[in-house]
Assembly symmetry: D2
Homo-oligomer: 157 residues x 4
Amino acid sequence: MTEPTVDERQLTVEDFPILRSVGTRWSDNDVFGHLNNAVHYQVFDTVINGWLSEVTGFPPTDMPALGVVAESGCKYFHEVRFPQTLVVGLAVARLGRSSVTYRLGLFAHEPGESSAAGKAVAAVGRWTHVYVDKSTRRPIDIPEPIRNQLSAVAQRS
Amino acid sequence: MTEPTVDERQLTVEDFPILRSVGTRWSDNDVFGHLNNAVHYQVFDTVINGWLSEVTGFPPTDMPALGVVAESGCKYFHEVRFPQTLVVGLAVARLGRSSVTYRLGLFAHEPGESSAAGKAVAAVGRWTHVYVDKSTRRPIDIPEPIRNQLSAVAQRS
Amino acid sequence: MTEPTVDERQLTVEDFPILRSVGTRWSDNDVFGHLNNAVHYQVFDTVINGWLSEVTGFPPTDMPALGVVAESGCKYFHEVRFPQTLVVGLAVARLGRSSVTYRLGLFAHEPGESSAAGKAVAAVGRWTHVYVDKSTRRPIDIPEPIRNQLSAVAQRS
Amino acid sequence: MTEPTVDERQLTVEDFPILRSVGTRWSDNDVFGHLNNAVHYQVFDTVINGWLSEVTGFPPTDMPALGVVAESGCKYFHEVRFPQTLVVGLAVARLGRSSVTYRLGLFAHEPGESSAAGKAVAAVGRWTHVYVDKSTRRPIDIPEPIRNQLSAVAQRS
């Protein structure tokens, strides 16, 4: 599977097959009055694990295998801040045998607005999970119930 | 204003004039698989500042005076965990000239449920803000637009 | 054991039998340029669990029983901020059969200074752990190796 | 300036001109008993800003220009956990006119050990700061006192 080149600054909520909301917190804002850059990763983690748990029915802390983060990255285009609500788009950029790489788009809207439609993408993330055996911690094939969900999303990404 | 004795373990969502939702994050869960105890304070802060900002119209980071935390506390009755949604009840326990003490009740519901009605209170917080001048950092009277909101809530608490 | 009244604002590093250092982080500072109030609780947790682990030899995540936080509280007297180093004093205020209450004093010094001697206490915390059985999660007697350490500290508190 | 290819898994503390220690916290460990992946970014931020502040003499929250994070990334090779101490190596991978890209190596040692010498690198980070004017938030040349420090480190990187 080849991964198409994406002009990341042009991404909109329509480019993502999965969209999920995450609230911001007072303590997320740093001294500059915007979200500290590490918060974006907390948000990405929450979206990926929350989504996986819902669609597979496994509790997020008790999956059949551990999805360990092998690599993560983020490009920051626009500031976001509490009390905005974040809308995170999730896509599957690459699906391997034991690993999956997600592309994430972070959008923000004000408390009084109901969606992030039409908003410029504030940040774009990349996130690779490698599935490992719970005891040996060695890479294994992505468990079937998880792979099925990832495949379906990959086709719409 | 005297502060009535409250049997905190018996509090329900009906006992709070203000109710607000806050999502949990994957990183909130510690090694025991439940919310780390410090997260409760991040949640309380978010609820108080988010509510104040909405009802007064001031941005949370640009109030006419600083609400500095003089004291905080929490009693933990039941575990809560990601991916539950938190519902936080807010009441005014004591309203002074330059300070306000909030009582907060933390309730949790599962992702598939729409409210925390009927849930046992998981934690009860207490939180005192003292208003100080932005430059001198000395206590001042609570600014009028904030006091009006606090008074209205105090009467329903 | 009766707990003596303490004038908390007058506490110094000499009033605590245990002293431990904790660094601050850039992201600890909130919009006001000082430590967000929830960070104090992360710091207290780190000091208690780090100390317990060292003196008992048990890994902090694998104690013979779980020390669950039943109650926590903090009074904030002075601002602290990154990049200051925190020095936390730990004392045992009350030692029960299945629970222990700690008193914590938080002091800060600048990066170039080597200790917090002579500094005013910036915050005073209170923290109650109840020991529970790992599987039933019901209160049990504090395990002997932990109790021995707590007793020794209580006598010097 | 061309950026040489680096075999990141082979990096040791000797490969970094700057080394700084950062403690871990109880709440850094997630449900898997190791540092949540977002914590690495908090640590990188702390090291970069702490170092810059010390060598330039500017307070970290009051630099002559804002160093805004344009991009960050991390590869995770080995687990780290509280109560280990982290040692972070800092190098300048690329120095531009208004931006700087750091390479960071994260090493860990046990509480009883005094250094991270000989340890395998646990994670490697990449971090780009763009300097912007405080009011217009548009890119500007890196201020001289900061550039001088970065140049000196770049020559040893």
